[in-house]
């Protein structure tokens, strides 16, 4: 499996470390229902068969976090962007939510 690092180019997956689902956003601890939202955020994950967005760390290359779009059925990787370009503060959404982007 090769991952198209936006900076380094196409690299073998062994250069990367895997973190997991890139969709959960840390909830607002001051909001009503924060406890339930945090339970969701910390423990609950979707396990989709198909398109998935996940964090990878390019440890052996540019040492940047990437958000990689991968199909969990085929391992086809359809894109990767630098986390620094997409991880700007976003509205909190529960883990496993369908609208978290």
């Amino acid at each position: 499996m090769r991952i198209p690092c936006p900076f380094c180019g196409s690299r073998d997956a062994h250069e990367f470390s895997y973190l997991g689902d890139a969709t959960p956003r840390r909830p607002d601890p001051a909001a009503p229902g924060a406890e339930a939202a945090f339970f969701d955020y910390v423990y609950l994950r979707d396990n989709p068969a198909g398109a998935f967005e996940e964090w990878w760390y390019h440890a052996a290359g540019c040492r940047q976090w990437l958000k990689v779009a991968r199909d969990t059925r085929t391992h086809a990787i359809t894109g990767a962007v630098l986390a620094r370009d997409v991880a700007a503060p976003a509205a909190p959404t529960p883990a496993g939510g369908e609208t978290a982007r």
């Binding site: 900076f7 180019g9 073998d12 052996a60 540019c62 620094r84």
Partner: protein, 212 residues
């Protein structure tokens, strides 16, 4: 030195292979030389300060910082793009490089001169040997002079820079990996023959690569 590198020695892998000819007799397919005369520093632009740093580097060295995994050089100073807004800067005969870079005020600077062991590589089979070690396409159609790759070679983190068309390369590994890497290089290059030269800077030539 040679006796310390005997395969029979239980700690032979902790010593770099000695200078001299290794592997297949005859004309060496790979010619390698340790470099000890380079000042090295990492340079990282502060958030939002990339333009100011680029301008300061241009003013100080006449050097345009590359935007991607490329090398740019001017006036004996080279900058290698390692990551977004981060470069490895190398200079010969400029021991105060890190201080000079810090004096620019536009970036975060880390002195690395003793952190990296540097090998200059040439020879007719050098591309074939490196192709065994790095999982990146080194074909001249996609990797040519001025291209830089930060990757791992035999599980050793390394920066590889094609410095010339012949081709020639400069390779940097962490100082503490220099010995292990020298054995890896020999394993890969033995079938073509390897000529390895010391840095040749007098009694201190072995400093930093653990030779001795």
């Amino acid at each position: 030195m040679a006796e310390m590198s005997s395969p029979a020695h239980p700690l032979s892998h902790t010593r770099p292979i000695p200078a001299g000819h290794h592997g297949r007799p005859g004309t060496a397919g790979v010619v390698a030389r340790w470099r000890e005369d380079l000042a090295i520093a990492t340079l990282a632009a502060r958030h939002g300060g990339e333009a100011a740093l680029a301008a300061a580097m241009d003013a100080a060295f006449g050097l345009a910082l590359p935007a991607g995994p490329k090398a740019a050089g001017a006036n004996g100073v080279s900058a290698l793009g390692l990551a977004p807004r981060r470069w490895l800067v190398l200079a010969s005969q400029r021991p105060a490089l890190a201080a000079e870079l810090a004096g620019l005020g536009g970036g975060a600077v880390t002195e690395q001169s003793d952190g990296y062991a540097v090998l200059d590589l040439a020879g007719p089979e050098v591309r074939a040997v490196l192709a065994k070690l790095v999982a990146v396409d080194l074909d001249p159609a996609v990797f040519s002079t001025g291209d830089v790759v930060a990757s791992s070679l035999a599980h050793i983190g390394a920066v590889l820079w094609q410095t010339g068309e012949e081709p020639t390369y400069r390779l940097l590994v962490g100082t503490s990996f220099a010995a292990a890497f020298s054995h890896t290089l020999l394993a890969a290059a033995a079938e073509y023959g390897l000529d390895l030269a010391d840095a040749g800077r007098g009694p201190e030539a072995g400093r930093g690569t653990g030779r001795g």
